[in-house]
Amino acid sequence: MVVTEGRGASDPGRAAAPAVRLVDVRKDYGSGELAVRALRGISLDIATGQFVVLLGPSGSGKTTLMNVVGGMEPATSGTIEVAGRRLADLDAEALTTFRRESVGFVFQFFNLIPTLTALENVQLVAELVAAPDDAARRAVEAVGLAERADHFPGAMSGGEQQRVAIARALVKDPPILLCDEPTGSLDLDTGRQVLGVLRDVSRAAGRTVMLVTHNSAIAAMADRVIRLRSGEVVDDRLVPEPIAPGAVTW
């Protein structure tokens, strides 16, 4: 993992080149009268280093938005630029490369491989991107699991597993981290730990973080909060004074 200074979130929304740019993005599932319009013309820029929370009720389109930004499914129309690349121009192989180099994912369910230790789970991805030999261990240390590196997922708590998943996403040193309900299956204390790690990796490395949640309490720690409803952005505002992750409560 490469840690760079100077891409902090102290200047949210005003970076020169946005990390993510969406112009009139639409996403439909199905067609005709039965079509479900998951995204209805979303346009927004997300600055580099920003910690953005996408908030909304179930079915509002926040996960779909994250999926199209992460190149996991194509938009029906509109323009998506992520880390300087227009996703519509990329074929399946290029999209795989894009995901490998430009984005990291953290899922609600940790999806760790139970037969590999915490360190090995991270190494698996490190080897994929030919990261330096000690990158995996440093990533594990960065999420505070140096002592648990050789434990298997089955012997770890949910919070620890989620931190391993974050380390796995970070070891590629992606400029953008996409997190889908990363605290959704965690209790308050463990959730705070995970949010703290995410906040730290964002601040320390100037990494853009998009965090999807339906938990409005988490919004208070973000640089920017985008609310969605029925596939549309209904509110987009900066948070003047984000609180510390440890102060988040629900």
Partner: protein
């Protein structure tokens, strides 16, 4: 429709490929059962129906005074009927073809009490036509003989012309074997003629031997045949054999018992494979449905309802596979019986519809399915609602693999390869199931392939390594041994050796065995007497070499003394008084038939002939290199001293011809084995991928190319397959050995002989099947819905 049942149907539809594979395996198992079991029953019924109709002899007594023996045996309460007759082996000419045939005596008027014939065309014997004969159907077919045609039979005074009155079928020659030593006889080189007593009595005495035929009564006690055989020997008989040992019946029973074994072994194998695959698939489904089961349990569904819901999968797929399987199997049994009895020209083919077979066929599918489903269903039923609702924990266990612990350098492999190794121990039940499945599939392919190897190796041993002569020449009249070479001199003949075959009983203690004792010249180059250990043994005067089956049948060992009792009036000089003893010099490992060998002088002595330069009725001939065997054979046949020529090559070709049918059969089992292997491995590997769909999707989302994931999955599957191959090949070898041993008798010695390439070929075939069967799973990996992993837990 009950909602759970509707869910069951939809679940099956959702995994239709896997369920179709299981259903197909069960279908094949049931089809094989119904087809082979009914064919087995039909063939048995066909044979025994004909045997009863023709009063096939339960015991044949050879030699001695037939009247004395018949009188003695008629006195036994267990005997229903006794017939005496003469049988002569002698040259017969049909058109331009000459061969060593057989004339069997029948009453000129009426039917014998034992061993009747049934007239297929023409009429029976006519007391008014002394030269009228009946021709056995195989001979009629080989020479295109019809009533009214004529044949020539060698008599005391030269060739005697006989007119064919009818074409008949005989229970003794349904399979036209000359003897237990010559079960395979090329078409046109053997034929049986039935003639009246006057005609038979005109044939040379040296060619004739007497037989007493015995038919048991319906209430004959167990052991009656042994008692009668002892009584016959006491009354002066040379040897006896029972219906079970009768050459034609024994050869046919080898086939019928093959059907019988097939009707058990193959269905078991296929149903076992189907059950394994079902267990794996349902196990995976129950794991996937854990949450749903919890909801059902929490909603008040009873354990029994859940149990039967999952049992329903096994029952339904079992029924779907077994109903068409039982019907098609029954139809196939009729077709097999028809073709089989047609090829063997059995006049009465019994084809019966057996409701019991159908019922068993229909039941075994669902029974296998339900048995397979029971384990997963019980796990589903015992799921605690609270536990099921807690959400998913990591699937499988962590820990370094056994391989890494044993070979520490493996720990330095790239993580993705360590992942492949560790995945083997992740779900041990499924890994074990896959290994068992691979072992089963390996067995089916290996056993089939091993049978081909065995037969080819044995034929090579019989016709290349042991039989060094190119032909056996039967002489019209015995010629002094020294004069044989001159009598059969012809262009293309490189070497000639006299041979004297003496029909005899070999007696050791209470055991006796009727066979042919061949007298060979010392240092013969026409026959290599290869021992089971691979060496070569040569008998000296006063010694005998026995076919190795006799080691067990007579309970003798090298160095033991045995007694030889020649069949009376088989040789012109008559047997000497008292029976000679010979020392067992060794055992010969001959795949076909069980004979005995001694020196020419010793054989002559036993036959009551001069030991120096004895007259011999036959010679072994080797052709010159490059000579046309057919042309040499024709030249030999044209010689006045020659009655018939039996080419070794013709026998080999006949064996190869039968091998052709065998290959077809094995080809079918290989295809079925491949299908079974595919179905089984496909299901276990599909479960392997499905179980980890979410993890694999996460790796794809993180940028791992699907090709890399494909390689990891392939590595796991290949490793599992290779692990399964090790016990599979060992088990398969043992199974093939048992299988071949079950076919071994004194008729055929089927020692398993597997070429090294067969091990490699089987392993390669299984690996190819494994690689092919994972193609659908790899396609699933490529098509994994990346977005789904974010939206929901993949199932």
């Amino acid at each position: 429709m009950n909602l759970l049942r509707r869910s069951l149907i939809r679940d099956i539809r959702g995994r239709r490929a896997q369920f179709v594979a299981i259903g197909a395996t069960i279908f094949l198992g049931v089809t094989l059962f119904a087809a082979s079991f009914d064919a087995f029953q039909n063939l048995n019924a066909s044979y025994h129906g004909l045997y009863d109709r023709l009063a096939f002899a339960d015991l044949v007594v050879v030699g001695g005074d037939p009247d004395t023996i018949a009188t003695r045996l008629r006195a036994e309460a267990s005997v229903a009927a006794v017939t005496t007759r003469s049988v002569a082996d002698l040259p017969i000419t049909v058109g331009g073809d000459q061969f060593l045939g057989r004339v069997v005596e029948l009453p000129a008027d009426g039917e014998p009490a034992v061993d009747r014939v049934t007239v297929l065309r023409g009429s029976g014997l006519d007391p008014g036509r002394e030269n009228g004969v009946l021709v056995e159907q195989h001979m009629a077919a080989d020479f295109d003989l019809e009533p009214g045609d004529t044949i020539q039979v060698a008599s005391e005074t030269g060739w005697r012309t006989a007119t064919v009155l009818g074409v008949v079928a005989s229970a003794e020659y349904l399979w036209p074997a000359r003897s237990r030593q010559e079960v395979l006889v090329p078409p046109g080189e053997f034929g049986v003629v039935f003639a009246g007593p006057t005609f038979v009595s005109s044939l040379p005495a040296m060619t004739r031997h007497p037989e007493t035929l015995v038919r048991l009564g319906p209430d004959a006690p167990d052991g009656a045949l042994d008692d009668l055989a002892r009584a016959a020997v006491d009354a002066g008989a040379s040897s006896t054999y029972t219906l079970a040992d009768q050459p034609s019946n024994a050869a046919l029973q080898e086939d019928v018992s093959g059907f019988g074994e097939m009707s058990l072994a193959f269905p078991l194998l296929f149903l076992g494979a189907g059950a394994l695959a079902m267990s794996v698939l349902l196990g995976r489904m129950v794991a996937t449905h854990r949450g749903q089961i919890g909801v059902l349990r929490a909603s008040g569904f009873r354990r029994r309802t859940i149990l039967w819901h999952y049992m329903g999968f096994g029952l339904l797929i079992g029924i779907i596979g077994s109903i068409p399987g039982a019907i098609i199997g029954a139809l196939a049994a009729a077709a097999i019986t028809g073709v089989y009895t047609g090829v063997l020209t059995i006049p009465t083919a019994v084809v019966e519809f057996r409701p019991l077979t159908l019922v068993i066929g229909v039941l075994i599918g669902p029974i296998a399915g339900a048995a397979a489903a029971f384990g997963p269903a019980r796990r589903a039923a015992s799921t605690s609602p609270a536990e099921a609702m807690r959400g998913d924990g990591p699937v499988g266990r962590g820990g370094a693999s056994l391989a890494e612990r044993l070979v520490p350098p493996l720990r330095r492999l790239p993580t993705r390869w360590r992942l492949a190794i560790r995945s083997l121990g992740r779900n041990r039940r499924r890994s074990v199931t896959t290994i068992v499945g691979v072992a089963l599939a390996t067995s089916l392919i290996f056993v089939s392939w091993g049978m081909i190897d065995t037969v080819e190796v044995l034929l090579d041993r019989q016709f290349v390594q042991i039989e060094r002569s190119d032909a056996q020449v039967v002489l019209t009249q015995p010629i002094a041994a020294d004069g044989v070479a001159g009598a059969v001199e012809a262009e293309g003949v490189a070497a000639v050796e006299p041979v004297l075959e003496v029909p005899a009983a070999i007696v050791a203690g209470d055991e006796r065995y009727g066979t042919s004792l061949a007298g060979l010249v010392p240092g013969t180059t026409m026959r290599s007497l290869i021992t089971p250990a691979g060496g070569v043994v040569s008998p000296a005067d006063g010694e005998i070499v026995l076919g190795r089956a006799l080691q067990g049948l007579l309970h003798v060992a090298v160095g033991d003394e045995i007694t030889i009792e020649p069949v009376a009036d088989g040789q012109s000089g008559g047997a000497p008084s008292g029976h000679p003893s010979l020392r067992v010099a060794g055992f010969v490992d001959e795949p076909l038939g069980t004979r005995a060998y001694t020196t020419l002088a010793t054989a002559a002595s036993i036959a009551g002939l001069p030991t120096s330069n004895p007259p011999v009725p036959a010679a072994l001939v080797r052709f010159a290199p490059g000579a046309d065997p057919g042309a040499v054979s024709d030249r030999l046949t044209a010689l006045p001293a020659v009655a018939a020529v039996v080419e070794t090559r013709a026998l080999y070709d006949l064996a190869q011809q039968f091998l052709g049918l065998f290959y077809a059969f094995i080809g079918v089992t290989l295809v079925l084995g491949g299908i079974m292997a595919f179905a089984l491995i496909f299901n276990t590997l599909s479960a392997n991928v499905t179980e980890r769909a979410v993890e694999l999707t996460a790796l794809r989302a993180l940028g791992m190319p699907s090709a890399t994931i494909g390689r990891i999955v392939t590595a796991e599957n290949v490793l599992l397959t290779v692990i399964g191959l090790v016990p599979g090949l060992i088990f398969a070898y043992a199974m093939a050995a048992v299988f071949m041993a079950s076919f071994s008798s004194d008729l055929f010695q089927f020692d398993l002989a597997v070429r090294p390439t067969t091990f490699a070929g089987t392993a390669l075939a299984i690996l190819v099947v494994a690689l092919l069967s994972q193609v659908p799973s790899l396609r699933t990996v490529r098509r994994l819905d990346l977005a789904k992993v974010v939206r929901e837990r993949a199932t």
